[in-house]
Structure formats: C-alpha cells, structure tokens
Symmetry: C2
Subunit: 159 residues, 2 copies
DNA sequence: TTAAGGTAGATGCAAACGCATGAAGATTGG
DNA sequence: CCAATCTTCATGCGTTTGCATCTACCTTAA
C-alpha cells in the first residue's frame, strides 16, 4: 500500500539532503572562491545563465534566501561592481539585474574552477547512466517544487 | 572524451541543487514547524536517528553549518529544554548530546507532519523506480562527499 | 615524562539573515 | 475613473551566522 511508498519517498529525500550537505561542505572547503561566498556565486551564476536581465523576484526563485536577504545581497554585489541594477522601464516597481563585465568575468573564473571540482566528485561517485538519471530526476523534482504556489487559506479563514 | 562526461556531471549537480532549493522552499512554507526553524528541526531529527548520544562534531557532519553556529544552535535548543548536554566521560573536551523527552516528542510531532509533505511532493513527481534510484544515487554521492577529508597541504607547504 | 602538535568545543565581533513592515507602482472591480 | 487590493522591492530591528581566536584536553614521540 501507500505506506511503503511514502516511506521510500522520505528515505530518498533524506538521501538527497545528505548528498547535498555533504558535497556542499566539500565544495565550500575548496580554495577557489576568492572574495565570493557560495551564495554570491550562486547569484552571479544564475544571472550568467540568462541573456536578458532578471528581475529580483525571478532571481529569488532559484536562490534559497528570503527576499530581503536577496535584496541586500544584490546591493553588495552592485556596490562591488559585479552586478548592474537598473529600474525596469516596463514596471516602475521592478529592478533589472545584469552582470557587469567584471561580474561576468568573475563568474567565469570561479565557475570554471568550481566545475572541475563538481565534475571530479560526481564522476567519481556515479556511472554515466546514474548521472543521466540524477539530472532527469532532479528536473522532475524541481518542477514539482515550483508547482502549486499556494493554497493555505484554511486556518486563517476559520478565525 | 572526458569533456562530455564532466559537462553532464555538472548539469546533474545543478539539477540536484535546483530540486533541493525548490523543494526546501516549498517545505519551509508549510505551516507545520511551530517554534522550530528547519535547521533546528534538522538537528533534532539527526539526534532522533541515533540511540546513543552524539558528539557535537558528529552532529556537524550532517548539518550544513559552521562549528560555532552549530555550537550555539545546540545552546539554544538546550536552553529550551529540547536537548540535553552532558560532558563526555571518555573525552574531557567533548560533549554528549541527546534529545530530552520533550525534544523527542517535538521531533515526532513536527517530523510526522513534515514526512507527509515530503511524501506528497516526492511521490507526485517520481515513479517508484525513480524514487529507489534517487535514494541509491543520493547515498553514493553522500559517500563521495564524506571521503577524502583533506589533502590540501600543497600551497601552504610551498610557502 | 613531557614538550609539541592536534582536536573539540566555546566566545568576541562584524557581517548577514529573517520577519515585520513600509512605500510605490500595478491591477482589478464597481 | 478611482478606490481597494496586490505585487515588487527596500528598510528597521532583533537574531543567527561565519571567521578568527581561545581554552582545555588528548595524542604522539623523543
């Protein structure tokens, strides 16, 4: 019945969490980051993946950080000249974020070294087939996480 | 050649990161946590998995947190009566950490609700086979992360 | 035995975070 | 058209984090 399937789902999730924590520690310990924290790098990397500037809230979808924290993280990166912040002409509330040339260059430098470490760790642990499966499974899970934005009006509605 | 394999490894890792961030946000948004942060819950959960008390540094292996931060997080949980902290009789430097009855009870309560959410998300996204694969792959990656504790004496040794 | 070096955990302090809230532009319904 | 509501981002403030460092204890080797 469902019992076993739920249990297995939880065990798989725990395995994912453990893998995440374990490898993140490993990567964080590598002497490749320079002045960047991993979170800052994550933001630079996300921006580097997109050609058009991103809105702050779009950036927020990919980053595990509260909106105010992200807002200030972007502040700092802008102060350091790695990110350009311009008001969105199509939405007076919004901000358009883009890498500066220095930011793009910095991302490439650090990203190149980091990619080596990632490849080393992942290929050492998994076969080609497992790597492909991990990517497919990760995408499915990510899609699931993004869905169903909210339906929590129960408790509040009652009071 | 190695090129493609490295690239695939990086894409798989990115998929894992995205899945992690996406689902963590989802779970964090659930109204099940009460007075606990997810990090605090993580510590309670880790302790609940072990019968004997854990050392602080053992706890640290599973938690993505610096040693001082973990030390103080445990402080707070002890102040709240959820964790018991006793000096290790076999190692004068060490501390033995265990859940109090209140801590165990709190973990069970929150953990039960959380497990439901995890199962819902994971089973909605994956087949039984994928769930099994995710668990196997996660364990392999975690083992890889834990291995090779350190061999960074190159740069330092040179100077 | 004891000096040198290593490991476990705690603490001072500045930086970063989350929550609550605010200001301002967008959107929607009457 | 405009009031009410929602969305986007910023800011005040108390809490938590990380880095550097310290103390205390363990281990090793001479």
């Amino acid at each position: 019945m469902t019992r076993s399937r739920s249990r297995r789902a939880n065990e798989a999730w725990e395995a994912l969490l453990t893998a995440h924590a374990s490898l993140m520690k490993r990567f964080a310990a590598e002497p490749i980051w320079g002045e960047l924290s991993m979170r800052e790098y994550d933001v630079l990397y996300t921006l580097s993946k997109h050609d058009e500037p991103l809105r702050l809230f779009e950036l927020g979808r990919g980053v595990l950080l509260s909106q105010p924290a992200l807002s200030r993280l972007v502040d700092r990166l802008a102060d350091r000249g790695l990110i350009e912040r311009t008001p969105d002409p199509e939405d007076g509330r919004g901000v358009r974020l883009d890498l500066t040339e220095a930011g793009r260059e910095r991302q490439r430098r650090v990203g190149g070294r980091h990619a080596v470490d990632v490849a080393r760790a992942v290929t050492a642990a998994l076969t080609d087939e497992e790597i492909a499966l991990l990517e497919a499974i990760g995408r499915k899970l990510a899609a699931q996480g993004a869905a169903t934005p909210a339906q929590r009006n129960r408790q509040e509605a009652v009071l």
